[in-house]
């Protein structure tokens, strides 16, 4: 197989047994890698008892998978998956950084991690061997400290294993912070500081397995490809396209959007989505650029990337001086900024840095903070409920105090650590008030910072409601299945595994060309949209609908937008706009039909049979209404 290292490493954390796993060529051609292969592995191993598997229990499987294009398509990523503690389905959550290339150079396409370690551990992989190492000295440590210690220890271990090599480069590292250790459903798997696989909640899964980190350093070359000359030509071509077409991204990253998505498209979460418009020039890209960003071009070693959309930030003066984060990008400007009524770069950076250190996803964490603040605004949560915190909009220190409680699961923090949806259920029962109407989530997952009411942004009415990855703004359902923003296209990138951003404005033809040059497989759009991507989509959909054990989604009820999205926008140029329920229902039915699901949104038996997914069809019989 070309583009693949050729084997996966399976590690049982309980027995400490390790073995190499291989998949045959037809399987890899069908499921590629990353998200697709994760769906396959999870379904094969857990599908028949999916509803009984606790995502935070030892039976869950944590997958950290590259794909054949990882390292070749400019801007490499790796995909983290498992049964999601947010959706109870399967989420492919991608993350940048060096781990992806390091593990491939170490001779592995990915990790399959089962069981639960009796005590905190981390996994160290080099091409000579993999080892489960004690992590008791790391447990409880924040992100910056964890990264610093593991970088040092990793280098020392490499030095010990092969002292003759010369200076050892630092290994690639994925880790969790205290939030993950405490099994928060809004905890992230981190690389560097802010880089995270946030959607899905796999930080909590790592914590539930007592797994603090995975560390890898490989010394081999990237795997052989089918046509090296063509691959190199295409890598270059794609980079050239990226540089031509990402002027805004290259200069500002997505960091101009913290202002722009509010002011122009009016689709930014403001005070827990009570508004989606702001025109706060204090939050402008010029303020970030002039005051807190300290490096213009940064790719964070996302191998081969010429787009460099990332930033590093630190306030130079004032009360938040010394807070350091990599970015914030748009999502975190929104969720850890405007969504909390925060409109200055310094406060945004301060809170973001703290959330990195505690191991929270900015989107999921920012959503739950905004939810709590709205309940405080409405007098539903009191100062007493919040352990003495006056949770006022825009008060970065108050939000900091609350996020610390969430990380430690202290007081109300224990409830909020479950994420917005589950916290809403608990608070509803406690207060006997329907607070679910203030929860801006999709199937247990916070919705990305792109609203749909103004109709000016890229997600539309069915985008989140019909996605197999809930609120994930990087994987939305699209009425045109072959559209560049369609979930079916995104499955290709997430299975590839490489950066979605570097496909912007790159023709689909180029993507298929490099796919073929690397793998030697002529897949192409017809096979992809009709067969391969459908198969992966249906498995994800099946897992999502089966769900459990704590929550199940009824598509007739839950394939819908959060209640807030049916409220009219109260401010800005699109004041009064909202979602039309009838239009939404119509679009939803059309999408079901297009994608091969029945009128209730369940993949049709004949569609599943067509794709060789009889096992999925059999299991879904239990669900038919």
């Amino acid at each position: 197989m070309r583009g693949y290292a050729g084997k996966f490493l399976e590690i049982d954390l309980y027995t400490e047994k390790m073995k190499d796993i291989t998949f045959d060529e037809p399987t890899l051609r069908q499921y590629i890698g990353g998200r697709g292969l994760a769906a396959k592995i999870l379904w094969d191993r857990l599908g028949d008892r999916w509803e009984t598997i606790d995502p935070l229990g030892p039976e869950n499987i944590l997958l950290i998978l590259t794909g054949p294009l990882t390292g070749f398509f400019p801007g490499s990523k790796i995909c983290v998956s498992g049964k999601s503690p947010q959706t109870n389905g399967i989420v492919g959550s991608t993350i940048g950084g060096e781990f992806s290339v390091e593990i491939k150079c170490a001779g592995y396409d990915g990790l399959i991690i089962t069981g639960k370690a009796p005590k905190p551990v981390y996994i160290l992989i080099t091409d000579s061997r993999a080892e489960i190492k004690d992590a008791s000295h790391l447990w409880g440590k924040d992100g910056k400290e964890t990264l610093k210690i593991l970088t040092k220890e990793g280098k020392e271990e490499l030095e010990k294993r092969a002292p003759q090599h010369g200076e050892w480069k630092q290994p690639g590292i994925l880790y969790i912070g205290p939030a993950g250790e405490n099994r928060s459903r809004v905890a992230v798997v981190n690389a560097y500081w802010m880089h995270g696989a946030g959607y899905g909640g796999y930080g909590g899964v790592m914590g539930s397995k007592n797994l603090k980190a995975v560390v890898a350093k490989g010394t081999g070359p990237l795997p052989e490809v089918a046509d090296l000359k063509k691959t190199l030509m295409l890598m270059n071509r794609i980079s050239q396209e990226n540089m031509k077409n990402t002027g805004v991204t290259r200069q500002w990253g997505t960091g101009s959007a913290g202002y722009d998505v509010g002011a122009r498209t009016s689709s930014e979460p403001v005070r827990n989505w009570q508004e989606e418009w702001h025109d706060e020039k204090s939050f402008g890209v010029d303020k970030f650029e002039d005051r807190v960003w300290i490096k213009r071009y940064w790719t964070a070693s996302d191998f081969g990337c010429a787009t460099a959309c990332l930033k590093l930030a630190t306030p130079k003066t004032g009360p938040f001086k010394g807070a350091i984060t990599d970015n914030p990008d748009y999502e975190n400007q929104a969720y850890v900024g405007t969504n909390l009524g925060i409109f200055t770069p310094e406060e945004n950076v301060y809170l973001m840095a703290l959330m990195d250190e505690l191991g929270f996803c900015g989107i999921q964490g920012g959503n739950v903070l905004g939810f709590a603040a709205e309940l405080y605004q409405r007098g539903i949560l009191t100062r007493e409920d919040l352990g003495g915190i006056e949770l006022k909009w825009g008060d970065a220190k108050a939000f900091a105090a609350l996020i610390r409680k969430i990380a430690a699961r202290e007081g109300i923090g224990n409830t909020l650590a479950e994420g917005t949806h589950r916290a809403a259920l608990k608070i509803r029962d406690l207060k006997n008030i329907d607070v679910l109407r203030y929860a801006v989530v999709e199937k247990g997952m916070a919705i990305g910072a792109h609203g749909i009411r103004s109709r000016q942004d890229y997600p539309k009415n069915i985008s989140y409601a019909c996605s197999v990855q809930g609120g994930d703004h990087t994987s939305i359902a699209h009425p045109i299945l072959t559209h560049e923003n369609s979930e079916l296209r995104i499955i290709l990138h997430d299975s590839g595994v490489y950066c979605w951003f570097n496909t912007f404005d790159v023709s689909e033809e180029l993507v298929w060309d490099i796919f073929e040059a690397v793998t030697g497989w002529k897949v192409g759009p017809e096979e992809w949209y009709e067969i391969t991507a459908r198969r992966i989509l249906h498995i994800q959909r099946a897992a999502l609908l089966i769900g459990g054990p704590d929550l199940k989604w009824d598509p007739r009820v839950h394939d819908d937008n959060p209640p807030r999205f049916y409220e009219p926008l109260p401010s800005g140029p699109y004041t009064g706009r909202t979602l039309d329920k009838a239009k939404f229902e119509k679009a939803k039915k059309e999408y079901y039909e297009n994608v091969g699901w029945d009128e209730n949104g369940i993949p049709k038996p004949e569609e599943l049979k067509r794709l060789g997914l009889e096992g999925v069809a059999k299991k879904l019989k239990e669900l038919r209404f």
Partner: protein
């Protein structure tokens, strides 16, 4: 880009994005593969954002060449780059010890040392860095100076300086 004669590769760490396209280009040129650890230039990142392209600084006194007991290292007359004779090199590692920046490293397979040879006058790393418009690496004239040797530093040492430049006082706590 065909540079005749002698030149130096200037490095600007604050412009380095960490994309590692230089590692890709270097290993392709020398090994015919994408092989980061066999690249003669390696981008270290011991602290996020502090990206350090680590490769031969071409010291005026060439301590690595001096240290080699096998006469495996020589200085190119055309480019003044250090050339490795892989037949003679035994991989003893004395040149690594001699280099103030521990820059030479062993090829992961086969036992010989890797040192930047300036691609015989057409450094591929500079080419791809320019193509990506980062310009962290640039070809400049090479006047006589001892200052080049100051770039032969261990990555930790460079990082300790760079984090202060990037993050100020707080940067010291990051490494």
């Amino acid at each position: 880009m065909n540079v005749k004669g002698v030149f130096w590769i200037a490095r600007d760490y604050t412009k380095c994005s960490g994309c590692r396209r230089c590692e890709i280009a270097c290993s392709l040129f020398h090994e015919g593969k994408i092989w980061p650890e066999a690249s003669r230039i390696r981008v270290f990142m011991l602290v996020p954002g502090a990206e350090i392209p680590h490769f031969c600084a071409q010291c005026h006194d060439y301590p690595c060449v001096e240290s080699c007991p096998e006469n495996a290292l020589s200085i190119s007359k055309e480019t003044e780059a250090v050339l490795v004779d892989k037949e003679k090199c035994t991989g003893c590692g004395l040149c690594i010890k001699a280099c103030p920046g521990r820059i030479p490293h062993l090829r992961p397979t086969e036992n010989y040392i890797l040192i930047c040879d300036l691609c015989g006058g057409e450094p591929q790393c500079v080419k791809v860095c320019a193509e990506a418009q980062f310009d962290a690496l640039r070809i400049v004239n090479k006047p006589e100076t001892y200052s080049y040797k100051l770039y032969a530093k261990r990555p930790e040492e460079t990082t300790r300086n760079l984090v202060i430049s990037l993050y100020g006082e707080k940067g010291k706590e990051l490494i």
